[in-house]
């Protein structure tokens, strides 16, 4: 940078030579301000989503930059919400990017006093083992009168109501095939 451009970049110079003698606006504008862009404009992609909190079903736009969620805001196209969000919906980015989010499997062995780490594959296999064992142990073929029961009452499930329909469908389908009858959901509560 030459002296000349350095001088010309000096706001005092701009004050003296430009339209803003009091140094209120144009002259005082910084390089940072000149370079400012909305990060929604520079996002790599936008996903059209739906707020995960209550059942109003407000539209959300999820902006992604470098594989990270950079902004979540209301979708003005939604005839339900018209781009608006409540404080919870507005906090969706903080929800999905929360530092408190647990992103690894945690395991507490019987009588344990602390969490331990566990590999996801191992956990899946351990859970499958336990499901099959509990099912075998508590299986009921028929009732006292010989009518079919085809079930286990040794396994329970309680699901939240923020699960997708597709997820609920697979849960119900698998549990029904396993004979695991005792599936419940927030909808009961």
């Amino acid at each position: 940078m030459g002296v000349r451009s350095w001088i010309e970049g000096w706001p005092v110079y701009r004050q003296l030579t430009g339209t803003d003698p009091l140094g209120r606006g144009a002259a005082a504008k910084s390089d940072g301000s000149r370079a400012l862009t909305a990060r929604t404009d520079t996002a790599d992609s936008v996903a059209r989503s739906v707020c995960p909190y209550c059942a109003v079903g407000c539209g959300q736009r999820v902006f992604v930059k470098d594989g990270q969620v950079s902004q979540i805001e209301g979708d003005p196209d939604s005839p339900i919400s018209r781009g608006r969000l409540c404080p919870k919906g507005a906090a969706s980015k903080s929800l999905v990017t929360s530092p408190l989010r647990q992103t690894t499997v945690r395991y507490r062995r019987p009588y344990g006093t602390e969490w331990e780490d566990l590999d996801l594959d191992t956990a899946m296999n351990m859970i499958a083992d336990r499901v099959l064992a509990a099912r075998d142990e508590t299986w009921e073929d028929v009732d006292a009168e010989g009518r079919p029961l085809n079930r286990t009452l040794g396994i329970s499930s309680l699901g939240g109501a923020t699960l997708d329909n597709e997820e609920n469908y697979l849960i119900k389908k698998l549990f029904t095939a396993m004979g695991a009858l005792q599936i419940e959901n927030q909808a009961r509560i």
Binding site: D77, S94, P110, E137, G159, A161, N165
Partner: protein, 865 residues
């Protein structure tokens, strides 16, 4: 609504701007009340008395929308003379069976119908929450009825209704609810004035109505008013359920509930549904009108979706694989079974019962007595860490080194890290696109269950046990993609929608379904969401480019209808009731129904169509029967069957109440579901003695700033800071009475637990004058627990477990308690405090109020002890 559904409230503000009057009924003055034109403070648990008063006001002054009522409701239908009303039976209906506290519904039936209406007795219906099946259709009843359209017949529904609600006078409303008569009249007047061809009124409720031991009847009462005023099936009308979770509607449509299968098909019962035929026949009552007559089709399509090629006509489409219910297998029964050691393993999928379910202590003790527990969530919620951080650690009831439960915490993918549909509160399915990959080990439920199923099936591949056939024959071949081998949600949605087996062509409507195995459909009411092979739920045509109905945004079940029963928006002749309220009408030139929405009627059936005398099913629906999923095509002011606690709503006190029922000798809902487990002891209520030990009414609800059990808000900094601490709201008068100071501590005690909270003394709560007694109510948010950025005691710990008989939902909006200044004791002293209260309220043996109190010694108003 402004508190818990602020963005939905924009439409209330829009209406207000155009001159609508907004009434808000709530035990405390909320953000909604602040914007309402009139606020009615009410004693929690007395809404039926208020609404019953409105019904009486309508009927006494003949303010009903008569043309609508006669044509579209069962007001004219005549009921058998065996029926006897609460008027004559101290608050019970005819048919009450003392042995199992249920009604034999036979005497409630329509004149001319046979006595055996249902294949299941009422107790089985209660145990299996059969009322839930009616979310998509009415209870089974024959289509042919006797009617008196002059409404003068003494046994016509109109007259029965009038007699039933005769004692719900304004004076009685005041005595029961604590609502002054002026306020009542203001509400009744405004509601009835907005009725008729030109005007409608809308009713909005939330879990403030459902979480009661009489919850279903609350909503029935609202529906009766809306039917009487002609507010159903019309724009600007209806009964709007504001549900609290992103896809809680979807969770009942495609249920993860023990008693339902997708599309509100009942889970088979061991005694009532031994075969496929018995099962489908029990759903479609022979002779009933309407679309529900095709139950066999819906059942067969589901079985085909589950077991694919293995399901054939020869093996009854694998119906034999289905597990059978024998009774109540609901979440509260499960928890009590956990405490008793009957349950081995427990999956928690984005749910936090340690905070969110009634009787938190029972929930935590149950979880501490499992073999294993799988928690899938975004955060380490209370239900995942109960073994080291629960309040029971401090009291010594749970010791980590003695607690055997093996806990797997599996991180879940958030809503932006997976794709799929949510069904929002107006039955609208909206597809979410995936924005990013889930972090670390986080996975969707879709992934978890697909792979769990895959692993289990691999383990069993060589099994010859008959019980494993259902798993091995399961249609479980979903395409997967991506680095995490995620199953395709779209493929699942396509299966839910259904398709033609031979061609693979997605079905456009459930009317295309066949009962011969040639089509597959996982949830018949969702058929059409994948019509033309297009994900209709992903449609995003901007609202500004569409009509107000916005039919091209997402997809609503059934058949993309936005207002159900919208045939009722036209008069019996098919013309709009008025220009202002035009919505769906009969186009005589084209001979079809048309309008802004998809008509909820056969498109070309003219208004003049009258069925043959014995026609049933769809053909039985007349051209002026808008309620096409009801057995008689009518809106039900009176439910001749299917509602277990009575054909009409009746005010019963909450199970825990400081007040003797001023209306009837029967104190509380006689048919409620009771759990007599030692942990579930209840506070005494009149007419029992010692109810004054728990003199105050408490109620709980949400804050705008938090979500349910707090797992998605107390963990999020910008929300946590907005409501950073557990508190209890009390009126200035109660503060004086109990020596509470603003921002000081108080603790609340019930027979189950004692919890502490900061005190907010506020004018927004008021004492009420009930039957010449001053009743104080306190309010608590139920969001707090012991994990997260902000913590506090859980309000749900205070509740016992008493359930509505129809749907087995717990009464967790009202209870009685004592309030004391200062912090609660710690450790063993805490248990001692609760024990002391139990001793003072009777004795230490577990206590359950009697179900029937009609023969109680004191039948008068509550005695002061």
């Amino acid at each position: 609504m402004a508190e818990a559904h602020p963005v939905g409230f924009q439409w209330v503000m829009e209406a207000k701007r155009r001159g609508a009057k907004v009434f808000h009924v709530d035990p405390r003055f909320t953000r909604t009340s602040a914007l309402a034109d009139s606020y009615l403070p009410i004693r929690a648990g007395t809404d039926i008395a208020l609404l019953g008063g409105v019904i009486r006001y309508i009927l006494d002054n003949e303010l009903d929308f008569r043309e609508y009522v006669v044509a579209y409701t069962n007001a004219a239908t005549i009921v058998t003379e065996e029926y006897a009303d609460t008027e004559d039976m101290h608050g019970l209906f005819s048919g009450f069976n003392d042995d199992n506290a249920t009604y034999d519904q036979a005497s409630w039936r329509y004149e001319g119908h046979s006595q055996t209406q249902t294949t299941r007795d009422s107790e089985t219906q209660r145990e299996t929450a059969a009322g839930l099946e009616n979310e998509s259709h009415g209870a089974p009843v024959g289509g042919q009825t006797e009617r008196d359209e002059t409404l003068q017949h003494p046994r016509c529904v109109y007259q029965i209704l009038k007699r039933h609600f005769a004692r719900y006078t304004p004076e009685m409303v005041e005595r029961v609810c604590g609502i002054p008569q002026d306020k009542f009249f203001e509400l009744a007047r405004a509601w009835t004035e907005n009725s008729g061809r030109d005007r409608t009124g809308m009713l909005v409720y939330s879990v403030g109505w459902t979480q009661h031991s009489v919850g279903v009847q609350y909503i029935r009462t609202g529906a009766i008013i809306q039917l009487l005023l002609g507010n159903v099936g019309r724009p600007g009308g209806g009964v709007m359920a504001l549900r609290g979770h992103a896809s809680i509607q979807g969770s009942t449509d495609i249920p993860t509930l023990f008693n339902l299968l997708p599309g509100y098909l009942p889970m088979p019962h061991h005694a009532n549904h031994p075969t496929l035929d018995k099962w489908v026949d029990s759903i479609a009552h022979p002779g009933q009108k309407g679309f529900w007559g095709n139950a066999r089709t819906y059942g067969v399509n589901l079985l085909k979706a589950y077991w694919g090629d293995a399901a054939t006509a020869d093996n009854d489409y694998c119906y034999g694989y289905m597990p059978r219910m024998t009774g109540d297998h609901g979440t509260y029964q499960q928890v009590l079974d956990m405490i008793d050691g009957k349950i081995k393993g427990y999956f928690l999928l984005g749910q936090n019962p340690a905070v969110g379910s009634a009787h938190g202590r029972a929930q935590r003790l149950g979880m501490a007595n499992l073999d294993w527990l799988v928690v899938r969530d975004l955060f380490e919620i209370e239900s995942a860490t109960f073994w080291k951080n629960a309040p029971e650690i401090e009291t010594g009831e749970i010791a980590p080194e003695e607690c055997r439960t093996e806990v797997f915490f599996l991180p879940a993918a958030s809503h932006v890290e997976k794709e799929g549909t949510f069904t929002q509160t107006q039955r609208l399915l909206q597809w979410r696109e995936k924005a990013v990959e889930p972090p670390g080990d986080a996975r969707s439920e879709l992934w978890f269950f697909y792979h769990l199923g895959r692993i289990i099936r691999e383990r069993l591949a060589t099994s010859t046990k008959p019980r494993d056939r259902a798993l091995l024959d399961l249609a479980w071949d979903y395409p997967t993609h991506g680095p995490t081998v995620e199953p395709s949600a779209e493929a699942v949605l396509r299966e839910i929608n259904g398709y033609d087996v031979a061609t693979g062509r997605p079905l456009a409507s459930f009317t295309e379904m066949k009962d011969d195995g040639s089509t597959v459909g996982g949830c018949w009411i969702y058929t059409g969401v994948y019509a033309d092979g297009v994900n209709q739920a992903a449609r995003r045509k901007p609202g500004s480019e569409q009509s107000l109905v916005a039919p091209e945004w997402g997809w609503a079940w059934p058949a993309n209808r936005r207002i159900l029963y919208n045939r009722a928006s036209a008069d019996p002749d098919g013309n709009p009731w008025s220009e202002r309220k035009r919505y769906v009408w009969w186009d005589a030139d084209k001979s079809e129904w048309t309008g802004y929405d998809v008509p909820d009627f056969e498109k070309t059936k003219p208004p003049s169509y009258r069925p043959e005398r014995d026609a049933s099913g769809v053909a039985g629906i007349a051209g002026d029967d808008p309620f096409i999923l009801q057995g008689d095509g009518k809106g039900w002011l009176y439910a001749p069957t299917g509602v277990l606690d009575g054909p009409m709503p009746t005010h019963y006190e909450p199970v825990e109440s400081p007040v003797r029922n001023p209306l009837y000798e029967q104190q509380a809902n006689p048919t409620r579901k009771v759990y007599t487990h030692p942990i579930n002891t209840l506070n005494p209520s009149p007419p029992e003695p010692y109810s004054q030990v728990f003199p105050y009414v408490f109620t709980v609800s949400r804050l705008t700033e938090h979500h349910t059990a707090g797992g998605m808000s107390r963990t999020v900094s910008p929300l946590a800071e907005l409501q950073p601490e557990m508190f209890v709201e009390v009126s200035p008068e109660l503060a004086v009475e109990r020596g509470l100071t603003h921002l000081g501590w108080a603790h609340l005690i019930t027979a189950r637990a004692a919890i502490e909270a900061k005190v907010l003394v506020t004018d927004r709560l008021t004492p009420l004058r009930v039957d010449d007694r001053i009743i104080h109510q306190v309010w608590l948010p139920y969001h707090f627990g012991f994990e997260g950025l902000v913590t506090g005691d859980s309000a749900n710990d205070l509740f016992g477990i008493s359930l509505d008989p129809n749907v087995l939902i717990q009464e967790s909006k009202v209870g009685t308690c004592d309030v004391r200044s200062g912090r609660r004791p710690r450790g063993a002293e805490l248990l001692a405090l609760v024990v002391d209260y139990r001793r003072r309220s009777g004795d230490l043996s577990p206590h359950y109020p009697p179900q029937v109190t009609t023969d109680s010694a004191d039948s008068g108003p509550d005695q002061e002890v």
